[in-house]
Amino acid sequence: MKSTISLYIIALPLLMLSCDDRNTAQLAPEYLYDAGNQKVIKSIINNKKGTIAMLYGNDLALENASKSLPKPNIGANYTLVTWKQKPMPQWYGTKMNGEIYSVEHLKVVQRNATQFAFDYDFQTGKGYQPGDGRPEEQQRIKFITSQRAAVFP
């Protein structure tokens, strides 16, 4: 009996120390998007829509976004991935990407000897609601091709 009491006395402070619980978070690889070999052009926040996006492009698209070219490079490929924003779980004061909302692909293609054309495609992700409506194609083409690349060191 006495030894049981002494055990309790020893165990009590240990129990109090171990109250510092360390749960493990659940990682969410479904929020990642693999843009293949395309490079980062920039990120775009939209608080009115509650979204955050990444614009990627191949080398020709990146050249377009980095220099003021008079017309788009034929062969430029862009990918604009848009996520729904969610609060960062460990830091009140940051919004981060949650579910993928949409993936837009844009290609600048050769129409004939002198003209180019745009090949635009809008795909929805898990964060897209059926009633959300689709963006207007010409506006999106203008938006994507007019983006300047973010400055990198």
Binding site: A25, L27, Q90, M96, N97, A150, F152, P153
Partner: protein, 310 residues
Amino acid sequence: MKKPGLKFYKSAAVVLTLIFVGMQISSPDIENPPVTSEIVAPADVKQILERACYDCHSNEAKVEWFDKIAPASFLIKRDIEEARSRFNFSEWDKNPAGVQELLLWEMVNAIEQGKMPLKRYQLAHPGGKVSESELAVLKKYVNTLPGRHKVDTARIVAQPSSSQKVSTPKTPVSLNGIPYSADYKNWKIISVTDKFDGGSMRIVYGNDIMVKAIGKRQLPFPDGARIVKVVWGKQAEDKEGNVLPGNFQNAQFMIKDSKKYSTTEGWGFAKFDGLDLKPAGKTILFEQTCANCHRLLAPENDFVFNVPTK
């Protein structure tokens, strides 16, 4: 086994009493150095800080009689010294304005996660608890700080100035030996963020080991995992609500090597400021500043904030 008799317990009691009395003689005094530059905050905010934080994070610690009894007094002295070294409301101006804001956001987060005030402090000081409504007051306050709605209106600079270029060595190296490397430009993106405190937007890259670990939902992250966070200011919102990156601010590195970086939870930290990539920090202690906040607020994520989690 022979059970210890009454004699054993008697002599044990005498020894323990002697140790206890001996401890009281060497029990440390908790001193309050002068208040040099106290934090200025609205009355309702200040009142919460004074009640819940000042006993450890200021030079106005109110020490109760039971705090002076050893061995508790040793623990309390250590806690107060540690708390004052993190931030001290009585010497608030020792921190640059930007750091003051970051500390206030960190406090809100520490309280929200129940990490502060310390549980052992609350056990002895039941009045030290911060209620939900008080946390709401603190949250409202941090959202009024100047960095919250900071807009980068400066002309976007794409090249470091020529004078900086000359004085910078080819590869900037952090004080803990981590060199800057542009490899990350070929890595995958693991998160994209909008940070309110300080007003910045970030793209976070992970190397192959890091991305594979996320794919396998593997925590803690394996050695060899690397993360680079690239930070820009935020331009003014356009009429459609788009906010675009402004000037490049810094690049932050985290490298997992559980042996090499064992004193900072297995992660090597580095930060390179501006287009000339000046390594951050005046002394190697800078990495402890990084680790302290990651250790306190993100232990569930293997100390990484910017990973995709449910």
